[in-house]
């Protein structure tokens, strides 16, 4: 929960691709939560087949619910709307596109890719 212990070793150890689940476990335009080490990740399979990964924690409510929001789009950006207070985030960058009048906050994002029917995360570093 604490943000004070962002571990430096994670930046220096270098990221590696880590398998999380199979693509079939995901549903188009609806998120699923995943547990990687002790981190809660939200995974999204978009209608064009891309997989996106963000932190599952909603920065506005501190609840781990991002995977349970509605996937959509804003102009070119694929988006996720938090189910708690409806803030909308860009799934590519994690930046908040509609803060509902709150201060801007960001979702952490990870690089995700699919390969041979499996979903991989570039793990060890958040972009």
């Amino acid at each position: 929960m604490s943000t004070q212990t962002l571990d430096r070793t994670t930046t220096t150890a270098g990221p590696t691709w880590r398998r999380v689940c199979s693509v079939d476990d995901l549903e188009v335009e609806r998120g699923r939560a995943a547990l990687v080490d002790h981190a809660q990740i939200a995974l999204f399979l978009l209608s064009d087949g891309t997989v996106r990964a963000t932190c599952n924690r909603d920065p506005y409510s501190s609840a781990y619910v991002i995977s349970r929001g509605i996937v959509g789009s804003r102009e070119d950006a694929p988006t996720i709307a938090s189910p708690m207070y409806k803030q909308v985030f860009d799934l590519r960058t994690g930046s908040c596109l509609d803060t509902q009048g709150k201060d801007p906050a960001r979702l952490r994002t990870w690089q995700a890719r699919r390969s041979d029917g499996d979903v991989y995360l570039l793990w060890g570093r958040a972009s």
């Binding site: 962002l6 501190s62 959509g72 988006t79 906050a105 952490r108």
Partner: protein, 854 residues
């Protein structure tokens, strides 16, 4: 490229803004270390007094994700003790040595303690940090337990902060006295007449004010704690506690020791680029002294933060000087001062409006030709503050008196606002900047302006101005306010309903391809889910329809603040058997759920995790229950009294009717929630007229009322039909509901829908009883389809492994509980733990399986 090493000293508001700005814009690698003295995440100091209004420390925390950035290391509770400018490093209290390429000092100020005897006695507090207010509250609570009478609190210092502190003491139940050494309150912002007006307002609020009172010492009692104050004139004032708000001192000690140039009155000297006398070191916020002045306001600090971030990234930016405008945050006391409030500009003129009876005193300062606004003071009615502050420096364009008179209709004259007028001083956004955002970035509302320009996102006092500017600009561009559902569909809900119905399209992808654009959003997707449910009767989790649902509909339970859900078993008409009650009790006990009765005559069980929901439903289904829609835009409950079955006064069997109606309309999706009430006689015990459909029994039959609403804008339902038998009643409700479902706007409840409807209640009567539109057959058929297709959504989910997969907590750990959940016992049950409770680690119950048995 090697990363630029940035060290930021002080983790306050300005440091936080600096990092947010820096990190979101940097394109080259950064390695940032933030060192804070306070042992916590940066928080909203401006909102500190909210602590006494019940906000906990977590609620005041500034956006955490800024420091969650992988480029930042944040160390709390380890202050910097020295700077070695030669070696380019800082040394912290714990002995860590951290090298920098660029050093940012954002150490803020500390509260001053006046050099008088007793200023550090127990019971004497300052008012600057969360620790300060926590200690103050603990002290007051501790003393209140020992002393029978209300506590007496004295605040020394009658400025903005002192008045806020006095309000906080009152909030804690103490009597508050403000001691001010000068002749008036808020002497930095107000002249004597304005100060006098303020004094009356403060006294009306029950706060005692002593002006011209110089404290000579604080007196200790037998226990060593403060018991009173003594003044130069020999008088004394008793006090159980004292709060010192006599000013702040810039925290320039490490800078001074490192030989950086500091101002005569304290503070690290900076130039307009925020650079100190060492080119590698910048200072921002309250610690920075610009033109030999430090200012205790956050807006100039934020402006410096933006300048420093831009400069660090190689850009050009200049700090343009201080805006000293302020507004007091004390409820019920409206005071603001802005611009050259004291008329120091040569030749400046005053225009004053004073109404001592009404407690209002307003002054505008104008240029010598009485055309240009220079500043002003507003006491008792500061409603014009938002409109006037941005006009400082520009031509008023109207009789100044018009801005001062009460009810003067000080509608913000946004049309004429010059482009260079600053509308949002927190973010430094001008009227021109907002107009440009409308023209060039396509902003059409306040929300998009906030996102694009940040205007209105900090203190919010300019939001009305922004709104006015946006609509004026849109109008000038010949635009009208759009009735589009959202950016994906240009038509309103009603038209979309018809489009879907006529086209016969049954999937979201097909509908958006034909009638819209993009991939939808959290506005249009649930609307389409609802429309499709009415038209096709499909299960909420069938195929693509599932992805359209709001979270509550998606998991068929009601999300709570910690991300767990509440489950409300359906109890038609509020009837439940003793066996049923026992089963519910057992389920709640076995899953550790908090239970409470709802306003709709049901039992709510809170704290169920996603992966527990199917297990709970299975238990309910096995016992003959189904879960219920205590969520979603659908029929919620049918509330009833006990009626003729038991009641001595009952005229008709209201409970039986309630059960029938609930079973008929359960699961019906609508533009908004629907509620029904059935009363068995005119005593109206079911409060039916506060519902969307209210039914009241009379000797002649049922009376049906439509369009009632509880909640924030209560409205009584209006009589639609009288003396109905059971069958006629049901048919009319069918038509009323279905007509509403087809024609209402998004999120429009029946009350505003009825107000908008042609002819109102009479118009509705013509449609549903006289078939004036010839659609009744259609409406009846639509409702019959709903009734026919109804299935227990929960039982159907349990029987379908594909749907059940959605209830796995983690895709790769399907039964692992959300590890972040934590609970605290409260009155024999569990509730989510607050952040404070989590931090202290006390009284925590892990989320896995609750053991709150007594």
């Amino acid at each position: 490229m090697s990363a630029t090493r940035v060290v930021v000293v002080g983790a306050g508001m300005v440091a936080h803004r600096f990092l947010e700005s820096l990190l979101s814009r940097a394109e080259t690698p950064l390695d940032v270390v933030l060192l804070g003295e306070e042992d916590r995440h940066p928080y909203d100091r401006v909102g500190l007094s909210r602590f006494f209004a019940g906000d906990d420390a977590e609620a005041m925390t500034l956006e955490r994700s800024v420091l969650d950035d992988a480029r930042v290391r944040f160390v709390a509770g380890d202050p910097v003790e020295s700077i070695d400018r030669g070696a380019h490093l800082v040394v912290t209290r714990s002995g860590e040595r951290i090298g920098y390429d660029r050093l940012i000092l954002a150490t803020g100020s500390s509260a001053a303690r006046p050099p008088i005897d007793g200023a550090d006695l127990p019971g004497v507090f300052v008012y600057r940090t969360l620790d300060d207010v926590q200690q103050l509250r603990e002290h007051v609570e501790g003393m209140s337990r020992q002393i029978e009478r209300p506590l007496r609190g004295c605040v020394i210092g009658g400025g903005l902060l002192g008045l806020e502190a006095a309000g906080a003491l009152q909030g804690l139940g103490a009597e508050a006295t403000v001691i001010q050494s000068s002749d008036r309150l808020m002497s930095a912002q107000l002249d004597l007449p304005a100060g006098e007006s303020l004094r009356r307002l403060i006294e009306q609020r029950g706060i005692t004010v002593r002006t011209g009172a110089r404290t000579t010492r604080l007196v200790a009692g037998p226990a060593g704690a403060v018991i009173g104050l003594e003044f130069t004139d020999g008088t004394a004032e008793p006090a159980d506690l004292v709060v010192l708000t006599v000013g702040v001192r810039p925290r320039d000690e490490i800078a001074r020791a490192a030989g950086l140039d500091c101002g005569d009155r304290g503070g690290v000297e900076i130039d307009a680029t925020c650079r100190t006398s060492d080119p590698a070191v910048m200072a921002i916020g309250e610690v920075a002294s610009f033109e030999n002045l430090c200012v205790g306001l956050v807006a100039p600090g934020y402006a410096m933060a933006e300048v420093a971030a831009t400069r660090l990234l190689g850009g050009e930016a200049i700090f343009g000087g201080y805006d000293l405008s302020t507004k007091l945050k004390l409820s019920g006391v409206d005071v603001a001062s802005f611009g050259d409030a004291f008329a120091t500009t040569p030749g400046a003129l005053d225009v004053v409006y004073s109404d001592p009876v009404g407690g209002v005193h307003k002054k505008l300062v104008l240029s010598d030709d009485a055309t240009t606004l220079l500043g002003g003071m507003l006491v008792g009615d500061a409603s014009a503050y938002g409109a006037l502050r941005p006009l400082v420096g520009s031509v008023l364009g109207a009789d100044p008196a018009a801005f001062l008179l009460p009810e003067g209709g000080v509608t913000a004259p946004t049309g004429e606002l010059p482009d260079e007028a600053v509308v949002c001083s927190c973010a430094g956004v001008t009227a021109g900047g907002i107009r440009q955002a409308v023209h060039e970035q396509g902003c059409e509302d306040v929300a998009s302006i906030k996102t694009c320009t940040r205007a209105g996102a900090t203190c919010g006092s300019c939001v009305l101005m922004v709104k006015g500017l946006v609509s004026a600009e849109l109008t000038s561009m010949g635009r009208t306010v759009s009735s589009a559902l959202c950016e994906h569909f240009d038509m309103p809900r009603r038209q979309l309903f018809d489009a879907v119905r006529v086209s016969g399209l049954g999937t979201f992808s097909a509908i958006i391809e034909r009638f819209g654009r993009g991939r939808g959003c959290d506005t249009c997707k649930p609307v389409l889910a609802s429309i499709l449910s009415t038209l096709t009767g499909a299960h909420v989790l069938d195929g693509e329809i599932a992805t359209l649902q709001d979270t509550n509909d998606h998991v068929m339970a009601n999300m709570q603040k910690d991300g767990t859900y509440s489950v409300v078993p359906r109890m038609p008409g509020g009837e439940v058997t003793p066996e049923g009650l026992i089963v519910i009790g057992e389920i709640a006990r076995d899953f550790g759920l908090y239970t409470k009765l709802t306003g709709g005559q049901r039992i709510d069980m809170f704290g169920a995790r996603l992966e527990e929901l199917p297990l709970i439903w299975q238990r309910l289904v096995d016992a003959g229950f189904e879960s219920g829609q205590a969520y979603g835009k659908s029929l919620r409950t049918v509330k009833s009294c006990v009626g003729t079955a038991w009641c001595r006064y009952g005229v008709l069997d209201s409970t039986a009717m309630a059960v029938r109606l609930e079973l008929r309309y359960r699961g019906l999706r609508a533009p908004h929630k629907l509620k029904i009430g059935v009363s068995g006689c005119a005593r109206e015990c079911a409060e039916a007229r506060g519902k969307d459909a209210g039914i009241i029994a009379t000797a002649q039959g049922w009376n049906l009322y439509a369009g009632g609403n509880g909640g924030a804008t209560p409205r009584h339902a209006e009589l639609l039909a009288e003396g109905l038998d059971d069958e006629a009643l049901v048919r009319i409700i069918d038509r009323f509901f279905m007509y509403y479902i087809r024609t209402a706007d998004k999120l429009q409840r029946t009350a505003p829908w009825l107000e908008d409807l042609d002819g109102g209640i009479d118009g509705l009567r013509e449609v549903v009883m006289e078939d004036s539109l010839g659609i009744c057959e259609d409406l009846d058929a639509a409702m019959d389809l709903h009734v026919e297709h109804y299935e227990d959504e929960w039982a159907a989910t349990l029987a379908d492994p594909v749907k059940l997969k959605r209830f796995e907590s983690f895709v790769n750990a399907p039964t692992t509980a959300d590890p972040s959940l934590a609970y605290t016992p409260s009155r024999g049950q569990a509730r989510p733990a607050s952040t404070e409770e989590r931090r202290s680690g006390e009284v925590l119950i892990a989320g896995t399986r609750l053991e709150v048995r007594r």
